[in-house]
């Protein structure tokens, strides 16, 4: 049904109904100054909604468009259409964008940004379109009963269920994978006690090393999953307490007499808010790396420093280890990146560190000098909204 079909019947009644249907809907028309005369015709068709007319190039000046329908009239070049559509989308992401024009090549290609495109000859369809649009938007917003809403809620429920199951799956699978590993590890400890021959001791050590490597990969996968799914638990944090939480996690490091408390120095401390478990996981990773890649000529020293910087907290973890070659630096946070075949890690550690810091709303940066040491600088928000 178009306005024309109704012409002879009761145009006034139709207009009134239409006005009620789209009550509250506002319309902005963008056109070239030279086309304002033609736009008057559209304004006449849409006079129930008293549309406002602007010039191309005024999008920025107009600012955020509160109007719900934006009409671009005769943008003549493809580039002009793309540019203006993009400008409108940035300022008013949820508006309905209608383009009227002719012979714009590939106009339908822009449907990601443009909701509807009409040829000049179809101008009379505009009121009808707006009517449909309003009806559709009412269907979507009417509470509870609407199909769209119900569908969304069902999908959401389904996703929550899948997330929960995936979480359970990761823990169950990791447990089932680790159980036999811990049994073998236990048997190797016993073997070490009972068989003292030098060769056998060496084989046992190598077997332990291999199993711990596999175990570390499973631990990393669990840590990755945990960071992805668990919600933030913000509480007050004191750095020295955090460090004492690390000790058990670093138990398996092959360090001999090196202990966390022996090589980590907390240089500054004031309380701040963050997610304790995530921060422990981050420091655990960084400090165990510092110990693993310590310089053979000296004992490892790790300094933890922090300062306030406006609305942020800057946490610096620096060591005196072997350092990282420059060409590795930009890749060390990548998934599965390892600096050499000899490294014992899964290639997930620093990736998880970066993802965890991201989850905490912060950033991480690395600086390093080969043979001198490595410095990680973590910036975190001081408060969580």
């Amino acid at each position: 049904m178009t306005v024309d079909d109704l012409g002879s019947v009761n145009r006034r009644l139709y207009s009134k109904l239409l006005a009620e249907a789209v009550n509250g809907m506002q319309i902005s028309i963008f056109a070239r100054k030279s086309d304002f005369q033609e736009v008057t015709h559209i304004k006449g068709l849409l006079k129930e909604w008293s549309p406002k007319v602007f010039q191309y190039g005024e999008t920025a000046r107009v600012g955020k468009l509160t109007r719900e329908i934006v009409i671009l009239y005769k943008p003549q070049l493809t580039e002009e259409l793309i540019r203006i559509a993009a400008e409108v989308r940035i300022l008013s992401p949820s508006c309905y964008l209608l383009v009227i024009g002719e012979g714009i090549p590939g106009m339908t290609l822009f449907h990601a940004q443009v909701n509807c495109a009409l040829q000049l000859s179809e101008i009379k369809r505009i009121p009808e379109l707006i009517h449909e649009l309003k009806a559709r938007s009412e269907r979507i917003t009417s509470d509870g009963g609407s199909m769209a809403m119900q569908e969304l809620q069902e999908k959401n429920k389904e996703l929550e269920k899948i997330n929960f199951e995936l979480d359970r799956f990761v823990y169950s699978a990791s447990h089932d994978l680790r159980s036999p590993l811990t049994s073998v590890l236990g048997l190797l400890y016993l073997l070490r006690e009972e068989v003292k021959a030098e060769g056998a001791q060496r084989y046992v050590s190598l077997m332990e090393e291999s199993i711990l490597k596999l175990d570390n990969i499973i631990r990393d996968i669990v840590a990755y999953s945990r960071n992805n799914r668990a919600g933030l638990q913000i509480e007050e944090i004191h750095l020295p307490e955090l460090i004492s939480d690390l000790e058990p996690g670093l138990r398996y490091l092959e360090t001999g007499e090196i202990t966390v408390s022996g090589c980590v120095k907390v240089m500054a401390d004031f309380p701040f808010s963050s997610d304790r478990n995530r921060l422990v996981a981050v420091l655990n990773n960084l400090i165990s790396n510092s110990i693993k890649y310590r310089h053979p000529a000296r004992l490892p020293e790790i300094e933890l420093n922090m300062e306030r910087n406006g609305q942020h907290i800057v946490l610096v973890v620096s060591d005196n280890g072997i350092g990282i070659k420059e060409y590795h630096l930009e890749k060390i946070f990548d998934m599965f990146y390892r600096t050499s075949d000899h490294s014992t890690g899964s290639g997930l550690g620093l990736y998880i560190v970066r993802e965890t810091i991201k989850k905490l709303g912060g950033t991480i940066r690395v600086d390093s000098v080969v043979n001198q040491g490595t410095k990680f600088t973590i910036t975190l928000p001081l408060a969580y909204a």
Partner: protein, 131 residues
């Protein structure tokens, strides 16, 4: 007395050995299902419970798991059993398990498998049990 509850006989073997290597000389009872351990607790007379006894309990045991076992112990409604000290000994990395374990007043620790003689040496009361 130390009571081991774990469905994997390899693990109870390892844990028995680790306890011995850690200097423990007392009695060790191993159960490969929580139900069997529960039967044992049902039948035990208060006077037969040696001081400083404790349980090393796995979490993921088929049929009745570690938590269900603790709930069942509580339901036996005998003070001496409900307060029997329990260490969880598991390879679980699930923080929820850890949090849940902390809700039981008689759970005194959460140990990660495998048990080693160094861990045994750090268990409080282990030498008192040994004497």
């Amino acid at each position: 007395m130390i009571i081991l509850i774990d469905d994997n006989p390899i693990d109870t073997f390892i844990h028995t050995k680790a306890l011995e290597l850690g200097g423990y000389r007392g009695r060790i009872e191993a159960f490969h299902s929580a139900e069997k351990a529960l039967e044992y607790f049902k039948g035990i007379s208060t006077s037969a419970i040696e001081p400083d006894s404790f349980v090393l309990l796995d979490i993921r045991i088929p049929a009745m798991n570690g938590f269900e076992f603790l709930d069942a112990l509580k339901r036996l409604d005998r003070e001496v059993i409900a307060t029997f000290p329990v260490y969880f000994l598991s390879s679980s990395l699930d923080l929820e398990d850890l949090q849940r374990a902390n809700t039981y007043s008689n759970v005194v620790g959460f140990l990660e498998k495998p048990l080693t003689r160094h861990m045994v040496a750090e268990l409080p009361g282990i030498h008192k049990v040994a004497s």
